[in-house]
Each structure stands twice: as structure tokens, then as C-alpha cells.
């Protein structure tokens, strides 16, 4: 068995890592257009779903999205005016925050007067499958429909995500139940929603 010197090992690993870095960069850059196109389609599908259009076909999603919405920059952040499936006008706001393992984000569709939630859609990069990942499920997202951002005294409280059964002084109109088993991801969504800014 031949013995390998330290110098050999050092050069070997350095060369290997350099080649790999180059290779991965090329692959990632080369596939970037396809990947970004897919991400745009997914975004359109998600926002349309939150606005009440149900599941849209991959081929039609972008066309439909461009038809019913227009970009507008609320406070310099990404936002859209959208015509919801029920005919009313709405506003789409982008929210982002921190989950347990990585970033979480979403789009909140609000009524024209910015007071009521018409729909939400959440996404994440690496939350736990079966637990934190459930923020993407219909059951969780549909609970936000009809919730109000302001309490009975007109104060802005956003829609809170709180453990069920806990009495925290927040009226039912301003809260949804957190996902059991996904405490930290739910807290991340709660914190993300609290930072929602609606200057109208």
C-alpha cells in the first residue's frame, strides 16, 4: 500500500474542491433561467389561489396573473393590485420571515380597504415535513380568510397565530390557531404577520 504524503493529500483535496465548485457553479448558472421561470409560475399560481381562483394550470397561470393584477410598490416593497375571483378589488402584499430551519414567506391578499384578509399563501424553504411544512396546507391558509387586521377599537393587531385555547385577549376575528407540533414555525408566521405594514 503506497503511503500518501501530507502534501499530496492537501493538493488532492484542494484540486477536488476547486473542480467541484466550478462544476456546480456552471450547472447552477446554466439551469438558472429554467428554474426562475418555474418559480415565477409557482408565484403566480399561489397568488391566484389566495385571491380565490383555485388551482391554475401551469401554462395559463402567468397569463391570467398578468391579466388580473398590476404591480404597485407599497412602501417600496413588492405588492400588487388584484382583481379577486369574486370580482372585488384587492391588494396583494408580500411578507417574509424566519421559520425554524430557514426563511418563510407568503402573499397576503387584502380587501380593497386593507382591513380584511381575502386569502393567504405561505411557503418555506426547509421547514420540517409534516410539521412546519403544514403552513403550506389549505387547512391552515383557509383559516385566515375573513379575518380582520384591526380590532374592535380600530387598533392594528394583524392576524395573530396563537396556540388554540389560549386566552390572550385577542378576539377570534384577529387570530388563527397555530399548528400543533410546529410551535416555532407558527411563531415565525405570527411574527411575520405582525410586521405587515398597511399605510393607506
Amino acid at each position: 500500500m503506497r503511503t500518501f504524503s501530507n502534501r499530496y493529500i492537501f493538493i488532492y483535496i484542494t484540486a477536488m474542491v476547486s473542480i467541484i465548485a466550478l462544476l456546480l457553479t456552471l450547472v447552477s448558472l446554466g439551469l438558472k433561467p429554467l428554474r426562475e421561470n418555474n418559480q415565477q409560475i409557482e408565484k403566480a399560481q399561489q397568488i391566484l389561489k389566495a385571491a380565490g381562483y383555485g388551482k391554475t394550470n401551469k401554462k395559463e397561470a402567468i397569463a391570467l396573473f398578468n391579466e388580473v393584477s398590476e404591480r404597485n410598490n407599497l412602501n417600496g416593497e413588492e405588492a400588487y393590485n388584484i382583481q379577486c375571483a369574486d370580482g372585488t378589488q384587492g391588494h396583494v402584499l408580500y411578507v417574509k420571515g424566519k421559520g425554524l430551519w430557514g426563511p418563510i414567506w407568503g402573499y397576503v391578499v387584502l380587501s380593497e380597504d386593507f382591513t380584511t384578509v381575502k386569502g393567504v399563501v405561505f411557503a418555506h424553504k426547509s421547514e420540517t415535513p409534516g410539521l412546519g411544512d403544514r403552513i403550506t396546507e389549505d387547512a391552515f391558509q383557509q383559516a385566515f380568510i375573513g379575518k380582520k387586521l384591526y380590532d374592535k377599537n380600530g387598533k392594528f393587531v394583524s392576524v395573530r397565530v396563537l396556540p388554540a385555547g389560549k386566552d390572550s385577549g385577542i378576539s377570534d376575528d384577529n387570530r388563527v390557531d397555530a399548528i400543533s407540533g410546529a410551535t416555532l414555525t407558527s411563531k415565525g408566521v405570527d411574527e411575520m404577520m405582525r410586521r405587515l405594514t398597511v399605510d393607506n
Partner: protein, 200 residues
């Protein structure tokens, strides 16, 4: 040639070697992600076996695990990039489990136990066969789970609506991960039970 077919049944990585079971539970609720996962693992296993076998005489023994990890991680990242560019919605379904292919014991197991000490040709075949053996189990489990749990196969409705009208219900338990474990157990039972007693 007979020994090459070993991983398909007699030495099946999941049923006999009890490797790679975790991802088998997570991605088999539907047939489509199961097939994509199986193909991904097969590709990574085969190509990493080939590469490690080709460079086996140049790898310093002190860093061989590191080198194996480098090769497997690079291949997995490339597979992940390709999936995001082509089968985007399936890559979302597989989520963290594509990255976890790196930790799949089948792959490291075959690299250590075969590729380091065999020729590239034999290693490539060994990687392919183990990947396919793994894939076979995934596909069988997924067919049961999707058909009985959702009435569909590859997202096409197979159970006719007349069945539902007569009172047939989808078996919700099938979609939950514990059922996958029970099915794998059942497959192990069948496989062990049908072995010739001389081989036991």
C-alpha cells in the same frame, strides 16, 4: 450475471440490508414523487460508484470518507438543480428529502463496501442495481398507498366514482407515514417467506 441481480431481491437494500428506509416512508404517498426519488437515488448511486471506482487508487485512505462525501454531495446537488429546472412541482414535494439522499446509507454503503475495491464497470452495475432495488420497493409501496389512499395512480383517478357512490371510502391511513412502514414490513415478510430454506 446472477450475482448482479442480487440487489433486486435477494440482497435488496431496503428489504434485506435495511438501508434507506426513512426516505422510503416519506416520499411514497404518491407514485410520481416515488419514481422521481427512485431515479434520483439510482443516478447518484450509479455515478458515484463509477467515479469513486475510477479514482480509487488515487484516494489517500485517511481522507477517503471525505472524498466519498464530496462526490455524493456534488451529484446530489446537481440532481437537485436539474429537478428544480425540470420537475419543479415534484421537487417541491420531495423538499428536503432530495438533499437527504446524501445521508442515504445505501450510497455510502456501496461506495465503502464495493466501489473502493472493484473495477469501474462492476461498480457502475452494482450502483445501478442497488438503486433499482431501492426503487422497486419505493414503487410497490407507493402504488399501494396512492391507489388505496387516494384512489388515484400518477394523479389519474382509477377508482371509478360508482364505487364511491356505493359507500367505498379512501383509506386515509394509507397516506400517513406509519402505513409505509407497515407495508415495508409486509414486503420483508413476503420476501423472507418465499426464500428457499437453503438460503436462509
Amino acid at each position: 450475471m446472477k450475482s448482479y441481480l442480487g440487489p433486486l431481491n435477494r440482497d435488496n437494500p431496503i428489504l434485506t440490508q435495511t438501508l434507506g428506509v426513512c426516505s422510503a416512508l416519506a416520499v411514497t404517498a404518491q407514485l410520481k414523487p416515488a419514481v422521481v426519488m427512485a431515479l434520483s437515488v439510482t443516478v447518484v448511486c450509479a455515478i458515484s460508484n463509477l467515479i469513486i471506482s475510477l479514482i480509487r487508487n488515487t484516494i489517500p485512505p485517511r481522507v477517503r470518507i471525505i472524498v466519498q462525501l464530496l462526490v455524493v454531495s456534488t451529484l446530489v446537488i446537481m440532481v437537485d438543480q436539474v429537478l428544480q429546472a425540470t420537475f419543479y412541482d415534484v421537487s417541491k414535494m420531495l423538499s428536503v428529502f432530495v438533499g437527504l439522499i446524501i445521508t442515504n446509507c445505501i450510497i455510502m454503503g456501496r461506495l465503502e463496501g464495493f466501489a473502493l475495491s472493484h473495477t469501474p464497470g462492476a461498480s457502475l452495475v452494482d450502483g445501478l442495481m442497488n438503486g433499482l432495488g431501492y426503487g422497486l420497493v419505493l414503487v410497490v409501496v407507493a402504488i399501494f398507498r396512492e391507489l388505496l389512499g387516494s384512489g388515484t395512480l400518477w394523479n389519474h383517478q382509477l377508482i371509478p366514482s360508482s364505487f364511491y357512490e356505493s359507500g367505498y371510502l379512501n383509506n386515509g391511513l394509507m397516506i400517513l407515514p406509519p402505513m409505509a412502514l407497515i407495508l415495508v414490513g409486509g414486503l420483508v415478510w413476503i420476501q423472507q417467506g418465499t426464500r428457499k430454506s437453503s438460503e436462509k
